[in-house]
């Protein structure tokens, strides 16, 4: 596999959480009664079989169990789905299998179970190393529990990443850099560092509209972003994507599939996939409501509700949207193959002139550090 080969990934969505965080608009649901693990395991394996028939013969380079809170899955359920995947496709020898975990639902016993089932990487939702902020983010854990979970994960799994959210209300550059430095003391070789985004339909959005939640202004957000990049780069974990940092070589293989615009299967409530079939690239999505998804799978063998053949322009736009998020950028020749068009040379010249993008000698287009901060505007400028 060449250095920038996208690979083939499987995403599985576990849609349940213990509580709904006020900033979150992921497809996550809180249920009074715990889900029937055996029934879910059966449905997930059935859906896997369905998709394996659509895209047979691939070699799986990554599996990602995301959520929701997949650390609420029983180890047996995790084992069942990994086995199902291994039974239908060939697993690459260095396959990466990640599970997202919430520090509040971490138990040593379960972690060992996940490891035994084949999970070799954990992504922990730490979010903050400051109890007051964890509370206002609506998290169920405190700093002590987060650090304990990190320690346990490092003992149990070969690879570990954790997530942090910054640009919280009233956060200063000084406070954030101090917190980030502390996080580095506990980090393994990968960190995801997201700017707090106010998403429509969340409780934070309501508070924001009412002026009861004030997020840092554009200048402060830019300062925080620059400080984050500077600090992590100096610590040997440069950004390989807008919000993701890793020691070179420790990048999340699965996320690279998305950003390199590779092929991936999406299974579970609300999961998205991109499949390359005989007639072209398909965008797929599954039913979002957990119970309905379950019923669909049980009656028709899969939970798919969206399956659209993408146009060339749409594929071009998606490759731009995903590819430019990576420090390595996108391959211009591949862009032309995918979209059937070349990028507008005069716009490229303008963007290059403003120091926002650069074209490498091997024909890749990538954002400069200045460009990353305003990537959405750059993509809009280049899109079809």
């Amino acid at each position: 596999m060449s250095a920038t080969e996208p690979g083939f990934g499987i995403y599985l969505h576990w849609p349940f959480c213990a509580a709904k965080c006020p900033y979150c608009d992921f497809n996550s649901h809180v249920r009074h009664d715990p889900p029937d693990q055996a029934r879910w395991a059966r449905a997930l394996t059935a859906a896997i079989a369905h998709d394996a028939a659509l895209v047979p013969g691939r070699t799986v380079t990554s599996v990602f169990l995301g959520g929701g809170t997949p650390s609420l899955m029983a180890p047996a359920t995790v084992g069942a789905v990994i086995d199902a995947i291994a039974g239908h496709w060939r697993l690459a020898s260095d396959v990466e299998i990640t599970l997202e975990a919430n520090p509040s639902s971490v138990e040593a016993e379960r972690f060992r179970g996940y490891r035994a089932a084949g999970v070799n990487r954990v992504s922990l939702g730490v979010q903050a190393l400051n109890d007051a902020d964890l509370k206002s983010l609506g998290r169920l854990h405190n700093v002590e529990e987060a650090l304990k979970a990190i320690g346990l994960a490092r003992e149990t799994f070969p690879r570990l990443s954790f997530d942090l959210i910054y640009a919280r209300p009233k956060q200063t550059v000084e406070a954030w850099t101090a917190e980030l430095r502390r996080a580095l003391d506990f980090a393994a070789d990968h960190l995801s560092v997201y700017q707090l985004t106010i998403e429509e339909g969340t409780r934070f959005a309501d508070l924001h509209r009412l002026g009861k939640l004030v997020t840092p202004d554009e200048d402060t957000a830019a300062d925080l972003y620059e400080a984050t990049r500077g600090l992590l780069e100096a610590a040997g974990m440069p950004a390989y994507e807008v919000s993701n940092h890793a020691v070179p070589g420790a990048e999340c293989r699965h996320n690279l599939v998305y950003w390199r615009y590779g092929e991936y299967v999406g299974i579970g409530p609300g999961a998205h996939g991109r499949l390359v079939l005989g007639d072209g690239r398909h965008a797929t999505a599954d039913e979002k409501v957990p119970e309905r998804w379950l019923q669909r799978v049980e009656t028709q063998g899969h939970g798919r509700t969206v399956d659209d053949l993408l146009t060339l322009d749409e594929q071009g736009d998606e490759y731009l949207l995903m590819g430019l998020r990576l420090a390595e950028g996108l391959d211009l020749a591949r862009f032309e193959t995918i979209s059937g068009r070349a990028l507008d040379p005069s716009r490229l010249a303008d963007l290059t002139g403003h120091g926002l993008v650069e074209i490498t000698p091997d024909g890749r287009l990538r954002a400069t550090p200045a460009g990353f901060a305003i990537l959405d505007a750059i993509v809009a400028d280049l899109a079809a």
Partner: protein, 600 residues
Amino acid sequence: MTTPLAQIRNFSIIAHIDHGKSTLADRLIQACGGLESREMVDQVLDNMDIERERGITIKAQTVRLEYKAADGQVYTLNLMDTPGHVDFAYEVSRSLAACEGSLLVVDASQGVEAQTLANVYQAIDNHHEIVPILNKIDLPAADADRVKAQIEEVIGIDASEAVPISAKTGLGIPDVLEAIVKRLPPPRGEVDAPLKAMLVDSWYDTYLGVVVLVRVVDGVLRKGQKVRMMGTGATYEIERVGVFTPKMRDLTQLSPGEIGFITASIKEVADTRVGDTITDDRKPTAEALPGFRPAQPVVFCGLFPVDAAEFEDLRTAVGKLRLNDASFTYEMETSAALGFGFRCGFLGLLHLEIIQERLEREFNLDLIATAPSVVYQMTLTDDSTIELHNPADMPEVTKIEEIREPWIRATILTPDEYLGSVLKLCQDKRGVQIDLSYAGARAMVVYDLPLNEVVFDFYDRLKSVSKGYASFDYQITDYRPADLVRMQILVNSEPVDALAMLVHRTRAESRGRAICEKLKDVIPPHMFQIPVQAAIGGKIIARETIRALRKDVTAKCYGGDATRKRKLLDKQKEGKKRMRQFGKVEIPQEAFIQVLKVEG
């Protein structure tokens, strides 16, 4: 068949805007049974959507009513509801020419306003008998005696027998009808004389083609008759003759004193000339009617499609609107910045707004309107004279001997407490005070002002300095020499021709500064800094900088949900479509409108 002249009354309703003309017309129509109650809607004669929404009358309307008076006789009443706004003063003048009397409606809670005066003076010039009507006496604030005194004092007509009414509740409507019959004179005319009829108005009807509103002075206008338009020389055979009740009703003929419509296979409204005399082709009248001056557009601006691909649609749309509104003119224009569009002429800013709104609504277009400009006269060094409708066409400064601009005489009525602010506003707008007097508690000021200063934001500012209480009317008087300069607006160092304007030298700097500030607010930050400058010749007189974007990137990627991101991108693209690309800068459509509204 022929209605005796003695049993006809032709009258207009004149009033300041909102004093209740249209509502009174509704009541009169109802009282005479012109429409059944289920057909009755408020302001029934305002039949354009825009008229109904804005509550204003744009087109004069005519309706023929049958009224059985207290004396037992049945009278034919021809009512003309006229627009109140200054932009449409022209419509008022021709309606007045077709009548012998006017009902002067004055809101009894407000009193005489600027357009009351403007309209009543026109009625007096047309030798009208005038019946004052005091409307809205149902309101607690109504003060009929005070307003009566004011009418006598300010206008100088007898108001002792003014009719107190409430058009809203219907109170006093029978008195109005009796006053029409008893106090307004019947028309005069000779039924046996050669046909002489006035072309009062014309419009385009999708089903009937051009419909012409006529007032017969002498003779008889018959179906099938061959007529000649004395001004244009064109001849037509009359196809239909009829009246509005207000529904169209066909008749076989119209006699002296009557008002009605004709159709005659006329192709375009532009083929008819308002004020023209219609006569019999074989037995023409010796003398044409005096006619009136055609409406002249006084404000011009460029209209361009936001999406250049919609130019042909715009061409079709302006053509269709023009079919119905001959006072609106257009010719093709090309702008370096905006591409193809039209330079359009309007009777005033309200007319401009209405046309723009109709184009956008009725034809589903997105438009950019450039800064409005008045018509300038220029004498060049070679002694020739030109008219300038577009700042972009301004000749080189060295070739200009003199520039002249149109001036207006404005009459403003305002409560005393706002007089100071009103005078200051007029002074700021280069006004010259002509008169200042009092009409009761209201001050009446007469000012000469350059029209150029009025087309921008005068009306809005007058309303704001007087909390809405001042009223305003004007007429164009003459052209006077002016020290005008052409101001360019540069965005990212490139001139945007659509924003260029002629301004008085003394006002250039403050206006330039105000425009740059406004553009700084309305042009969103780009990926780079954008200087915005105002310049005269090569000299920069104002400057602002639009800062560059610093942070605009989606933090979270939502796993493999590329669809979500693509949809956000598509939304961004939609937003961009409502912008225009100028060099490397995207200027939102809204910016052009905002710039017109700046003070300075």
